[in-house]
């Protein structure tokens, strides 16, 4: 419990990551520009943004691999600059690249990681087997990593990131370049970690559906700045709400103004015998609309509810312009290597 004593600050016990105005410049490029956010214990927090938005740089700062140019960040209660080793001890990292040693077996790789965390072999041996089972590569445990497929490598990386029993796991683009099956498996493991091991997860992705289905909260980041933070639902709602289309048998009377008075409804348009209604929380709004229509003695012939996708929210917030890959040379290189190996 030495680690506990070194902790600083008494801010809410449920805040596991506190980032306060960090910036990182590479020469002229501001990769991260005055970013602040908090991650709560037990949540899956996602960084969503296009390539070169500053996602990996933020992860690298929080995992003490890079020093911020300015600002302060606390991870698991430890300052990333002054208590870097304590941060490293407490968090798990699954970097974007494939980091396993190709000449060693999967099992040996996990043991090597455990050694780097200073875990005794008596503990790390059973733990390695447990982790191999968790990511379902126990059958290939004694094969050299160079014979692994991209998906197996990614799962091994995940196992290596879990070797020190982390409270907080960082995943940098965990599904970059993977096939659909492996991606689904990685998603499953992430949910297991959250639900079964009560782990806090911080992941970066540029896949919208990944952020949508995994994250409790998402920060949309672009050009090194956080544009918006919220739950996927909140972000979608920020686009303007759900679309409810109600068809009625009777074209008259027009009850648009009555529908408009309902608390969740934001906009009503009538076209013939069809009402196009924009509302917040469509699931709750639509029964209310049904009740209202019926109370007016009208008959509902059809009803549909369309939810806005995160894509729309994302494109609205980050713009529709195509991106040239920015980032630095090293990041571009490592991303290319990652993509190539994922496809092997």
């Amino acid at each position: 419990m030495m680690a506990e004593l070194g902790r600083q600050g008494g801010e809410g016990a449920d805040v596991i990551v506190k980032v306060d105005g960090i910036s990182k410049s590479f020469g002229q490029i501001k990769a991260v520009d005055n970013v602040s956010f908090e991650i709560k214990q037990g949540e899956v927090f996602g960084f969503l943004g296009p390539n070169g938005a500053g996602k990996s740089t933020t992860i690298n700062i929080l995992t003490t691999m890079m020093r911020p140019t300015s600002g302060k960040a606390t991870v698991c209660g430890f300052d990333v600059l002054s208590h870097a080793t304590d941060v490293r001890r407490n968090v798990g990292v699954v970097p974007q690249e494939y980091t396993a040693d190709e000449d060693m077996t999967g099992y040996q790789n996990i043991l090597l990681c455990a050694d780097l965390y200073g875990l005794p072999r008596s503990d790390s041996k059973p733990h390695a087997e447990e982790l191999l089972k968790l990511v379902e590569i126990q059958d290939a445990a004694n094969r050299k990593v160079k014979t692994f497929s991209g998906g197996m490598r990614r799962r091994l990386e995940l196992a290596c990131g879990l070797v020190n029993y982390p409270k907080l796991l960082f995943l940098d683009e965990p599904t970059l370049g993977l096939d659909v099956q492996t991606r689904a498996a990685v998603w499953k493991y992430i949910r297991t970690l959250k639900e079964q091991f009560k782990m806090t997860l911080f992941l970066t992705t540029h896949y919208l559906e990944e952020a949508d289905s995994l994250c409790d909260r998402i920060a949309i980041i672009d050009h090194g700045r956080i544009i918006k933070v919220g739950s996927p639902e909140q972000l979608k709602a920020s686009v303007g709400g759900d679309i409810i289309v109600v068809g009625v048998r009777e074209a008259e009377p027009d009850i648009s103004s009555e529908i408009m008075k309902l608390p969740l409804v934001k906009e009503v348009k009538k076209k013939g015998a069809e009402y196009r209604i924009k509302a917040e929380m469509g699931e709750e709004a639509s029964p209310e609309i049904m009740d209202l229509v019926r109370s007016k003695g009208l008959h509902v012939t059809k009803i549909s509810l369309t939810k806005p996708t995160l894509d729309e929210a994302y494109l609205e917030l980050t713009g529709r312009n195509l991106r040239e890959e920015e980032g630095n040379r090293m990041q571009n290189l490592s991303q290319r290597i990652t993509m190539n190996r994922a496809r092997s």
Partner: protein
Amino acid sequence: MTEKIRSSTLDEPKPLAPNQASAPTWPASAQKANTGPLHGLWALTQRDLRKWYGNPIQLFISLIQPVIWLGVFGKALNFGSFIAQSGAPASVTNGIMLSTFGTTSYFSYLACGQLAFVVLFTSAFSGMSVVFDRRFGFMNKALSTPVGRGTIVMAKVFQSVARSTIQAAMVLIIAVALGMDIGSFTVLGVAAAFGVVFLMATGLSALYVMLALRSSDWQTQMALINLLNLPLLFASNAILPVKLMPTWLQYVVKVNPVSYSTDAIRQLLIGAVGTNSIAVDVGVVLGFAVILSTAGIVLSWRLLSK
């Protein structure tokens, strides 16, 4: 599809202590970890060594060059018989050889220099292994763990020292097989000579690791090896005696640590007449090793994180 995965997760049994709701429910805890200042050193060193002894072909190829130097160059360049061809009596020939090389056999002279050669070229590739670890991501993995930054550098140096020393031993065995004079070999002398090899390998490996700390580019590293190794080898007494060199070059030889290690090795192994006393030679090589390894560790604190 997403829904299907979600439900299958929930159906899975929960084998690990589900009653601890707040903390991660791992059976053991990270508190067990012993993260002393040198933890992970052996694990990292072993990882690199495994790559080496796991690949005997590489080991074999690395011995070819010294064998060619010894077998072809060393045997062909028989200075003793050059002098003898002029009709000089054996005593004169030996006298000239002794005053020039410090020993009567050029082959034995060269064999000692080849120990320096093999150390030089094996150590040079310690930097390469840093570059490849960076390129293939392993460096990032290591940097994300609590292992000391200095430990990462030390492991790179140690693995290279182990390789250099073992390869030097193999070169010595080959040299003896090819006719190196073993009349002056003593257990202590051979052990001390390998002490010098060890120190030299430490200094050179630290130098190359240091130069590679920030690099992710193996071409640059190759160019650096060529840029440094040839002057270090030829501007030293490893192949030819200092006496035969122009004065300006003799000054370069004087500041080249390879000269001191070779000088010491010659005195310790074949009882050659040295340029300096063994104490001075060992002192210089020791200083070289200590200064460069310290510099490597200090630089690692700054250079390994961005």
